[in-house]
């Protein structure tokens, strides 16, 4: 399975996250179908021949049947990625035990998603990482499913600023 042939079904009501994931995967050559209604999932999976399902964990609990269990039972080859706003080891284990292949926290680290989605040959030749890194502007991906912004107030006071040279330019 190469990235250009892979088809992804993205199930998420978080529009900002879904847009970012959709765009990131589309740039890398994936075909992405977005859906915000879990009730449509069975029909979409039956008709769409998706390779990957990426779903918010909250969306898996809306129907009577657990979507992870249902998807695993009915689409054995489907790769399942579950997203959550919470970086929870318990939730991670729970999703994996139900049949999910990967658990990621939001906002989704697209590099981590790449490691999971791209076959080995695509990873070694650059693949998604190269496109996400924006050429030479790129920075090595962060480790871990989530990252915390380390923005702190580092300035002692809001008073007038000096005019000396600072930073990297």
């Amino acid at each position: 399975m190469s990235s250009s042939e892979s088809s992804v079904l993205l199930l998420d009501r978080d529009d900002a996250n879904a847009r970012a994931v959709e765009r990131g995967l589309a740039v890398a050559g994936f075909s992405v179908t977005r859906c915000a209604d879990p009730a449509r999932l069975p029909d979409l999976l039956k008709a769409g021949r998706f390779d990957v399902l990426i779903a918010d964990v909250l969306m898996t609990r809306i129907t009577d049947e657990d979507l992870i269990v249902w998807a695993r039972q009915n689409q054995r080859k489907l790769r399942i990625v579950i997203m959550s706003e919470f970086e929870s080891p318990f939730l991670d284990k729970q999703c994996i035990s139900k049949g999910a292949d990967l658990f990621v926290a939001k906002p989704v680290d697209l590099h981590k998603l790449q490691e999971f989605l791209l076959p080995v040959e695509d990873r070694t030749s650059g693949g998604l990482r190269q496109s996400l890194a924006g050429g030479s502007e790129g920075i090595a991906p962060m480790s871990g499913a989530t990252v915390k912004i380390a923005i702190q107030r580092t300035r002692p006071s809001p008073g007038p600023r000096g005019r000396g040279e600072r930073g990297t330019g």
Partner: protein, 135 residues
């Protein structure tokens, strides 16, 4: 579909690095990084970013609000202010430049992502409707 191009204007290296890493991880293309307002105006003209993440208090002769005003006069880049301070005078000044967002540090990653995506969506809509004029 292409990756949105973002310019970071931040004079705190640690914050700038953190922003850059997050934006890259989320699939955005960081086209440049400025530490002074004057530099931001030049880089915005050169790289034509879709969006500028702008710290307000910067070293140099002009602050982030003035830099945003100059950038908006020459391009249709969406500007989101990121500041450690939130006094009403500063906010009133910032509002005049019609920013697409105003975030107080520290910022939660999901709040940053949501603000960026909302801004990009609004910008695309405004460009589509012809409300904004290219420089």
């Amino acid at each position: 579909m292409s990756m949105p191009r973002i310019l970071i204007v931040e004079d705190e290296p640690v914050v700038a690095m953190s922003l850059r890493r997050h934006l890259t991880t989320w699939g955005y293309h960081v086209v440049g990084q400025a530490v002074r307002g004057e530099q931001a105006v030049v880089l915005a003209k050169e790289f034509e970013p879709d969006l500028v993440l702008m710290d307000i208090q910067l070293v140099g002769d002009i602050d982030g609000i003035e830099a945003a005003s100059q950038i908006r006069a020459q391009s249709d880049a969406a500007v989101i202010f990121l500041t450690g301070y939130s006094d009403s005078k500063m906010f009133a000044r910032a509002r005049i430049t019609e920013p697409y967002g105003y975030l107080i540090k520290p910022v939660l990653p999901k709040d940053l992502l949501h603000t960026i995506e909302t801004a990009l969506q609004r910008r695309a809509r405004e460009r589509g409707s012809g409300k904004m004029n290219s420089a």
